[in-house]
Symmetry: C3
Subunit: 127 residues, 3 copies
């Protein structure tokens, strides 16, 4: 499961980066906890992290089912593609919320491919 683990590591490390950006943005834009709204610059940075949580709950289980039942190396490649799509999404969203489409769509698409592919693989191969 070496490549699945590397893809998990890349995805979660990128997610840690998004988490740290939110803490930094709280100070920079003066948005004090528990508030999460009131400043559009903060809100974009916050939504990148939140949306990544929303995608991780789809991605991680699907990645591992795919890596275990279909192919570890292919899971690793798709997983690294997911992280690249997330980095694209963050760069787009940080710049302008309107441009976040491609990164968002690619992340979601890879999640679906892993989920459907992994499930089919498990039903064919698995006990």
């Amino acid at each position: 499961m070496r490549f699945t683990i590397l893809a998990t590591f890349a995805a979660l490390l990128t997610y840690c980066w998004f988490l740290l950006k939110v803490g930094q943005a709280r100070r920079k834009f003066g948005v004090e906890a528990p508030k999460t709204t009131g400043n559009a610059d903060f809100e974009r940075i916050f939504r990148v992290q939140q949306n990544t949580v929303e995608q991780l709950v789809l991605f991680l289980p699907s990645l591992w089912i795919f890596g275990f039942y279909v192919s570890d190396i292919l899971a690793g490649l798709l997983g690294l593609g997911w992280t690249a799509a997330r980095a694209l999404y963050a760069a787009e969203y940080y710049a302008d919320a309107k441009t976040r489409g491609p990164g968002a769509a690619l992340t979601f698409l890879i999640g679906i491919v892993l989920l459907v592919g992994g499930t089919i693989g498990a039903l064919i191969k698995g006990p």
Copy 2:
């Protein structure tokens, strides 16, 4: 783990549906990112998805521990029950936030049963 995987697939596919509904509702009700508030119709659709993330982080690990250490087929049945409860919750919440109780309670209850049952099973059987 065939039934555990099928239950995972059903839960995550339903979740993808909730995700797509949020994107659609952004356009329909004119709630532009990064905003997530300001229109009660959008907010109900958004909260269904958000609350499903909140329940998935309890459900998925518990389902897999239960499926591995207690019973794959019983995990599959409880897991499909979880997805049915989520669909009920969404239908209730989309119609009127006040009526979401039964679907919410049933989802949570199944999550707890899987967590407690899976942990007990693992401590008895597992190495």
Copy 3:
């Protein structure tokens, strides 16, 4: 994986407690769904639960990789430390949002240690 499972159980049970606190706070402070803002007392209780979701998506996969490839018992100990840090965070945040730093930092640090340690362990030992 006995200790990894016990740590998972402790973390998720604590999370269930945070979830129940949100439901109770909705009634106590009159914040009706789908709203999640408008009352600072409610918002602190809500953010404790939300932030725990944000940390669980990092913690749980990292814990299991660490428990499987490095050490089950050490994963269990670090995992129980994570839950203790979360309980500290909740106590701090419920009292005053400004004092939540130590619990937040400790939770995040343990997540990172499990992620990095588990990945290194998997690359050295794993197939």
